[in-house]
């Protein structure tokens, strides 16, 4: 029987305390309005540039590419502070979290020089074109096609739920460059398309409460020169899945509703509400240790895919538990237009909650990954 590997706790190095204090000092002087799910819905390009000036974007990238040579655990401290504060980090989130590391790992020298310094300055935001109208959980079924032409490729197809494509300076597209054959994971490739581009149309997909975070991105023969292929043609599946542990286990899978805990604590004036805050803190403390453990394993060069999937499953369900706990202990109705921060945050959280357990791999897909790891699938 396959068994679960133990996950060692991740220990933050002592020098991160000063870094954390600096981030808190910076945030105290920033005039943003805190919001739930800020890493999807709180886009502010100017704020992102100010973070870049502080050296808090592209932190783990090497200095020769404009990065800061910091450890993943130092980055963990910065991003958890930003998330807990509800800061507007949405514009750069994807470029900082996964596109930068992916270009570093798979890109050409020219691609690294072109994109990484700009990512670290907060001047180059990426979107990632993965899901399609007929390809959600079954990502390998993507039908966006890369057609070989002299000097490069032409892309044909439609991507959906593309977060931030309307703000992005480029999109990283997963497309089929060869028919699948026996191995459906073969024949996939990644392409970098600077935006706007001829043959690319970006249209909003409005969220149920009217917010514009998602887009449909249509590729109608857009040309990608060979120099903008990321990594190896045909190696797209491996390149995409290699990032998953980074994408799935970060503190953004626990903290999307943290603002509500803080607001509940501020007005918890009877024992029931205080106990409820304590219960949420206990759970979050444990989940944060797990997230830190995965970050520590990544920092040591391991790829803890299975624990990462577990953290996302439990973490995102915790984010929903926070909403329900706040509802139980306050008489506040969710109201996006309210002057009461709790009513506003509750409105943000309630409407965003369905997305928590969908994005980055649905929790059902994640449990399938875990079941395979346990040897029952």
């Amino acid at each position: 029987m396959a068994t679960l590997p133990d996950l060692d706790p991740g220990t933050l190095p002592p020098e991160t305390a000063a870094l954390r204090a600096r981030v808190r000092g910076f945030l105290a002087d920033e005039p943003f309005t805190p919001r739930c799910d800020c890493w999807l819905t709180g886009a502010d390009p100017a704020f992102s540039r100010r973070l870049g000036e502080q050296g808090w974007l592209g932190m783990t990238l090497p200095a020769r590419y404009g990065g800061h040579g910091r450890s993943p655990l130092e980055r963990f401290v910065v991003i958890e502070e930003l998330l807990a504060a509800g800061a507007p980090v949405g514009a750069h989130w994807i470029s900082d979290r996964q596109v930068g590391p992916s270009i570093l790992a798979n890109g050409t020298e020219e691609q690294r020089q072109e994109f990484l310094p700009a990512i670290a300055r907060g001047e180059c935001f990426f979107a990632i074109g993965m899901s399609e109208p007929d390809s959600g959980s079954d990502l390998a079924s993507v039908r966006t096609r890369a057609e070989r032409v002299p000097g490069g490729w032409r892309l044909h197809g439609t991507k959906v739920w593309t977060s931030g494509a309307h703000l992005a300076h480029a999109i990283l597209v997963l497309a089929r460059s060869a028919s699948a054959g026996d191995d459906r994971h073969a024949g996939l490739s990644q392409f970098i398309v600077p935006l706007p581009a001829e043959g690319v149309t970006v249209r909003p997909i409005l969220a149920m409460t009217g917010g514009h975070h998602f887009n449909e991105v249509v590729f109608d023969g857009a040309f990608v020169p060979d120099a903008m292929v990321l990594g190896q043609i045909g190696d797209g599946w491996r390149q995409v899945t290699a990032e998953l542990a980074y994408e799935r286990s970060g503190p953004e899978r626990l903290l999307s509703t943290f603002l509500l805990i803080r607001l509940l604590a501020e007005r918890a004036d009877e024992a029931g509400a205080r106990n409820a805050v304590g219960g949420l803190l206990a759970r979050l403390w444990a989940l944060r240790q797990a997230s830190l453990g995965v970050a520590g394993a990544l920092a040591q060069g391991r790829t803890p895919d299975l624990p990462a999937a577990l953290v996302k499953d439990l973490g995102t369900r915790f984010e929903r538990e926070v909403v329900e706990t706040v509802r139980r202990h306050t008489a506040v109705e969710p109201d996006p237009g309210s002057a009461d921060p709790l009513a506003r945050a509750l409105a943000e959280a309630v409407a965003q909650t369905p997305g928590f357990t969908l994005r980055g791999g649905t929790n059902e897909i994640l449990r399938g990954i875990v079941a395979r790891g346990l040897g029952v699938r």
């Binding site: 954390r20 444990a286 797990a290 577990l310």
Partner: protein, 301 residues
């Protein structure tokens, strides 16, 4: 080192009565300083042993002897006697309620800022749900008394962390039993583990086990941090209920019988999640702390 210790621990704990082998190997007082008569080693070493004891449901007062009584005596500067020990907090004469293994161990009593090693004059036997001795004790006189810097609240945290470690061992055992059973038991012509509904139960269980485990390991590294210990025990106690429920659901009716070994694990999960405070008690302690929740969580209060 800790892998070797873990291997040894599992070999010993799997026996019906591991106590003599533990004493022979000098493993009953790991985590207690050598100068106090302990075996030395870190609290993390002691946790390796305790987790293995929890995994096997070993009928030994290991948490009580070293982790609790041994460290308490060491803190008070008293030599640690040989043999099984237990601890209690309360009035020096007693009665002391539900003392773990009270009938089978000398008792280190913390009362009014001092500790004493006592042999009970009167024992009223009791047990927890798993049948582990939880006895009421009455005492005549103290054998050794010394002032003790450890407060009752600290001793309760020590106990909570010990039970949390035992819970993580038992939860891992429950997961392994459930995964194995799902691979063996066939219905509708295939192992039940082939059904996605069962797979998702097992995955959920695995999540609880891994998160509880890493949190408790982290707390063992910072045992003096009240937020860490409270969170670790609250989460382990909460997870224990989920894990026990899923383990039984996967096992079906055979799991609730005396003949099947699952109950050795789940009865302990249900007992230990209550002892030294359940998830609600520790949540209340966390909720009563002053300060910003984020500063509490990150230890920057």
């Amino acid at each position: 080192m800790s892998e070797l210790l873990e291997e040894t621990a599992h070999q010993i704990m799997a026996a019906p009565d591991p106590w003599p082998a533990l004493e022979d190997a000098g493993l009953t007082l790991v985590g207690v300083p050598e100068e106090a008569g302990g075996s030395g080693g870190t609290l993390e070493d002691a946790a390796v042993l305790l987790r293995a004891a929890g995994y096997h449901g070993a009928p030994v007062p290991l948490a009580e002897t070293g982790w609790l009584a041994g460290r308490l005596l060491a803190a008070a500067g008293l030599p640690v006697p040989s043999g099984p020990l237990t601890v209690a907090h309360g009035p020096s004469g007693g009665p002391l309620r539900r003392v773990p293994w009270g009938r089978a161990a000398r008792c280190v009593v913390l009362a009014d800022g001092s500790v004493a090693i006592l042999d009970p004059a009167q024992v009223t036997e009791g047990a927890n749900l798993a049948g582990e001795p939880r006895d009421d004790l009455v005492f005549d006189a103290a054998e050794a008394v010394a002032p003790c810097p450890v407060t009752p609240a600290e001793l309760r945290r020590w106990g909570a962390l010990a039970r949390a470690v035992q819970l993580t061992g038992a939860m891992r055992r429950a997961l392994e039993l459930a995964v194995a059973y799902a691979g063996e038991r066939e219905q509708f012509g295939r192992p039940i583990g082939r059904f996605q509904a069962v797979q998702h139960l097992l995955a959920e269980m695995a999540g609880e086990v891994v998160v509880a485990d890493v949190a408790v390991r982290a707390a063992v590294r910072t045992p003096d941090d009240p937020v860490a210990v409270a969170s670790a025990k609250a989460n382990a106690s909460r997870a224990a209920g989920e894990v026990a429920a899923i383990a039984h659901q996967v096992h079906g009716a055979i799991g609730v019988t005396a003949e099947h070994p699952l109950h050795r694990t789940t009865l302990r999960l249900w007992s230990w999640r209550e002892e030294y405070g359940d998830e609600h008690a520790w949540a209340a302690e966390l909720g009563a702390l002053d300060g910003d929740p984020w500063e509490l969580l990150t230890g920057t209060r």
